[in-house]
Symmetry: C2
Subunit: 193 residues, 2 copies
């Protein structure tokens, strides 16, 4: 059954799937050839053909520039910089941000040998000018914060205002379960009520 083994081997390499769940997924699909397997093959082929990185912001889309960069209702003077496409999707799901994005494609990392040239940083700085706002929406990890500092330094020279996401207690979070770092940040950033 070489076609099936090939399929299972490829499925097993996807994040979140192991050999066992890849077998289950393959079995599910071959039992539903017309409703699941053929549409999925077509969707993969279409996506592989059509999706390209946006030359402006690094988002992936089927149009160039991407739907967000070309949307006239989105505020062009506010740019939210994220590490990864997944972060852009997470922010879009909130529907709370109506500006544009810039996807870095990773973070600076001395350990992994990732320097500023490896990231989409030059294009970001070139987009900035006085009167614009740059929101740093990088992950609250060591590498994310290092990258945020580096970008804030370089952005300062462009005259753009720079801000970052608030840190504090998550909505629904119980203090007893939060780490000390989060609680410390929440205390420091406390607001008058």
């Amino acid at each position: 059954m070489s076609e099936l083994d090939t399929l299972i081997g490829l499925l097993a390499k996807l994040p979140g799937l192991g050999p066992r769940s890849a077998r289950r997924a393959a079995l599910h699909m071959i039992k539903r050839r017309e409703s699941v397997m053929e549409p999925l093959a077509a969707a993969l082929r279409d996506a592989a053909t059509a999706i390209r990185p946006c030359s402006v912001c690094g988002n992936l889309d089927t149009v160039e520039p991407c739907a967000i960069c070309r949307d006239p209702r989105r505020e062009p003077n506010t740019i939210c910089v994220v590490e990864d496409l997944a972060d852009l999707w997470a922010l879009e799901r909130t529907a709370a941000f109506r500006g544009r994005y810039h996807v870095l494609g990773g973070t600076l990392s001395a350990l992994d040998g990732v320097g500023p040239e490896e990231l989409n940083i030059g294009a970001l700085i070139a987009r900035l000018s006085p009167g614009m706002e740059l929101i740093l929406a990088l992950n609250a990890t060591v590498d994310g914060q290092t990258t945020a500092h580096y970008i804030a330094d370089r952005a300062a020279a462009t005259g753009a205002a720079v801000s970052r996401l608030a840190q504090g207690v998550p909505i629904g979070g119980e203090l007893d379960y939060l780490d000390e770092g989060t609680l410390t940040a929440a205390l420091k950033a406390r607001r008058a009520v």
Copy 2:
């Protein structure tokens, strides 16, 4: 991003994947267009085209009859009947069975309105003759055991010997964690040492 949304929607319907892991899998793939996405699209298309149910036993394969039915090294007079392809795969992984299979495609179920005509039972009975052995490898569920009884009754008329998988304590199983039914079965089927 309609191509991407289509892809994520289809991935999210696979067993073991939800919306979140489907997004992660899609993102993983579009970042690895040539190494992951295109091979997977091709593997799905090839599998959908090539894989067909075996007319003898109901196994899915790219050849007709399937590789197991046509393998001359496999004992033709021992047939192991299973509910589902996943059970056949599980038995094949043990490498402990060298006979042929018969895949029912489900179990009898009064609740779901599955009668003998809906299952691949007629073809199984037609394969049996005196001197052959039929091994019932159905799940130890109520529906599985009902189906096993039904098949054993019909197989008796063919002159074939009928056996079923042993029930008892799983290898590595701790008695304290086993249900009463398994312990009762293991006690009843105790063997002299």
